[in-house]
């Protein structure tokens, strides 16, 4: 049964850690996009809310930051 337990633990462990890494990468990139959008919006004199979404819909490069929240 030791081999079986090892097999399950290692396979599920790898999948779990990879899944965790994917979520972390997505979150980090979402934050980067929000930061860039917020800075760009600031550069054209727009009001930016705390989530990084600009209020001026027509401005280039400005819009609702991607989801994940």
């Amino acid at each position: 049964m030791g081999y079986v337990q090892a097999g399950y633990s290692i396979v599920l462990g790898i999948l779990f850690l990879y899944g965790l890494q994917l979520v972390w990468r997505r979150r980090r990139l979402n934050r980067s996009v929000a930061r860039v959008v917020a800075s760009d919006a600031g550069a054209v004199g727009l009001t930016v809310d705390t989530s990084g979404a600009a209020r001026h819909a027509d401005a280039p490069g400005v819009g609702r930051p991607p989801g994940d929240r």
Binding site: Y3, V4, Y8, V33, V36, S39, P60, V62, R64
Partner: protein, 262 residues
Amino acid sequence: MSTNQHVPAPPVQSRRSLWTTRIIGITALVATAFTVWLGLWVTPPDQVQGNLVRLVYIHPGVAWVALYLAFGLAALASVLYLWPRTRSLYWDRLAAAAVEVGVVFNVCTLISGSIWGKPTWGVWWAWDARLTSTAVLLVLFLGYLALRRVPAEPEVRAKRSAFVALFAAVDIPIVHFSVLWWKTLHQGATVLNANLSPTIHGSMAWTLLLGFIALTLVFVWMLLVRYRIGVLEDWLGTGELDVALRERQAEGASLDDDEAAA
């Protein structure tokens, strides 16, 4: 001063798409937990293999995802990218996501197979046709991922990646038919055999089926998240350095404006 005249709108993920990803993730988690419970505690041991047979509920499942779903999807997406009528970076992104997830599942296939091999064959590894062709497949797709990191224009990168994916995909049927073409230590197909009549029955068959569904759902969830990462990376730039540069440029632009205003 505006520094972002040519910057496209940021990639927005719809609420519906977010919830779909979440629901698939939760369903995958529950299905996997059920598979583990059934596989380790509910199903009976095998007459010949004893408790070792419990590895059948995960090993063929991860192999199915890696070989057929992930690498098969990558090959299909690569064909669709190379086909002039369907050419779009969408297919390239999908292929890249499928290969990355597929490589993880391929590693799981080799590890779980090796753990099963030690008590049944007496060795962790044998240069058997099935094992060797699966290892070659892993190396080929690792090469694909390495090639994608070579700096290039997105279209150039997409085109050469698609060719490499198709070249690597030639190994998929070799892996599948290796147990028929050569005398191998590895057993023949249990479910997808020539007669399409599974040689496993009862609670063991149902648990095996649930394992396949659970791992397929895990793959779909990972693919969706990895695809989203690709979309965000493409918007910010192709690499880590580009992401950092975009952020610094944006910060610099806002500082310039502050100074000008002062």
